[in-house]
């Protein structure tokens, strides 16, 4: 049996975390290949519907990351995002969607090492949790069959 390779999608803002991840690259710090980044202008732009969509499309884990509080390029996008995350997380928890599968973080443009650490630790957490089979069962579903 091949080892489980978690599928993890990362939603990051352009100004801090995306740049931070660039720095991880320029500093040649290695991390796991499982995490792939989608670039957003700001954490304020990250719609909870996209996180939901990710699980529906088969993600085992999600990373959401942006500028530290007070450092938002747009001054307050991350403050708005934080409130939304607090509410979203509470709702998912109530519904039994495993909140450990979504890692929220603040990674600045100078924190290349922190980004590598967030990626690696999230990959480890998801590896331990295993594939998100409960959700897949719910999602594994008419459409996929229909596709084939």
């Amino acid at each position: 049996m091949t080892e489980f390779e978690p599928k993890i999608i990362a939603f990051v803002c352009n100004w801090c975390t995306y740049a931070g991840a660039d720095l991880t690259g320029t500093s040649r710090i290695k991390y796991a290949q499982n995490v792939k980044i989608v670039r957003f202008p700001c954490t304020g732009r990250i719609d909870f519907m996209l996180l939901l969509k990710s699980f529906g499309e088969g993600a085992d884990g999600i990373i959401v990351s942006g500028c530290h509080p007070n450092d938002c390029h747009y001054t307050s996008g991350n403050f708005h995002a934080r409130r939304r995350w607090i509410m979203f997380r509470g709702l998912l928890d109530m519904l039994g969607i495993d909140v450990r599968r979504i890692q929220y973080s603040w990674v600045s443009a100078a924190e290349g090492a922190k980004w590598a650490d967030i990626v690696n630790s999230t990959v480890n957490t998801i590896r331990e949790l295993g594939p998100y089979t409960e959700y897949e069962k719910v999602a594994g579903y008419l459409e996929k069959e229909a596709k084939q």
Partner: protein, 266 residues
């Protein structure tokens, strides 16, 4: 409720309003919403403990708007919805007469939305203990069991959207579920589609829902979707202070405090 009828007649006669939105006897022991445009029909107005439907939902409906300026019979839950609708720029003071009804079934006049807010400040939203208990029980389940519980609870949902139609705050002209560019939510009423629909619905009511239970009362399958919104209400209170619609406060989610607390962001 002679007083209510008298008031309604007076309002229509003086042409201060063109329609009265109120309650009337329905089939069996039930009550129904009634839209009165002629003084002669005012005698059908009733108010008693059976009148639980949230009439505020009609304030944003275009068919009702066409009838002219309304007066609305408004017990506490309706008053809360009115205030929230005002916060969200859906209604204005001049376009509406509010016939408030106290928990003691007394008629009260409200000069302004601010007066409604003042009145409501003595009638805060409280989540009943029995619901708190249920929520605690659900939250005590192990996460996979909890998930299974909800998948099962949501299973009967056939996406009739009666919950949406009954909620005074679901007044969008195009709901996100009806948007297929992109297709946000699987349209079919299979487990994934149902789960996504209810997560979306609850999130859209985060910090707005006034706990009127109209959604739950409307659901033909009696799915306990109100538990989701009640839980969110508790979360709002816990994280951002007490919640209740307020004219000079911004919506919970479109505002923030730089020092909002959380414990999960690394």
């Amino acid at each position: 409720m002679n007083e209510l009828i008298k008031k309604a007649v007076a309002l229509l006669e003086s042409d201060s309003v063109q329609v009265i939105i109120g309650y009337a006897e329905g089939t069996g022991t039930r009550t129904r919403a009634i839209f009165i445009t002629r003084t002669a029909d005012c005698e059908n107005l009733i108010f008693d403990s059976r009148c639980v439907q949230n009439l505020a939902v009609y304030l944003t409906k275009s068919e009702i708007k066409k009838l002219g300026k309304p007066a609305i019979v408004a017990p506490i839950p309706v008053l809360r919805s009115i205030l929230q609708l005002a916060v969200e720029n859906q209604i204005t003071e001049n376009d509406l007469v509010v016939l408030g009804i106290t928990p003691q079934s007394e008629l009260v006049d409200f000069e302004s939305f601010a007066a409604i807010e003042a009145f409501l400040s003595t009638h805060q939203i409280v989540i009943e203990e029995k619901y708190q208990e249920t929520i605690r029980e659900i939250k005590a389940m192990p996460v996979t069991e909890r998930f299974a519980y909800w998948v099962k609870e949501l299973e009967p949902c056939f996406k009739c959207y009666a919950c949406r139609a009954a909620c005074p705050l679901c007044y969008c002209t195009r709901c996100t579920v009806d948007n297929n560019q992109p297709q946000w939510i699987s349209v079919a009423s299979h487990p994934l589609g149902n789960l996504e629909w209810h997560i979306m619905r609850a999130m859209h009511l985060a910090g707005r829902c006034t706990d009127c239970e109209a959604c739950y009362n409307a659901c033909p399958m009696s799915i306990p979707i109100h538990l989701l919104t009640k839980n969110m209400l508790q979360d709002v209170t816990e994280n951002f202070g007490t919640y209740g619609p307020s004219l000079d406060k911004l919506n919970t989610l479109s505002s923030f405090k730089p020092d909002d607390k959380e414990s999960f962001i690394r």
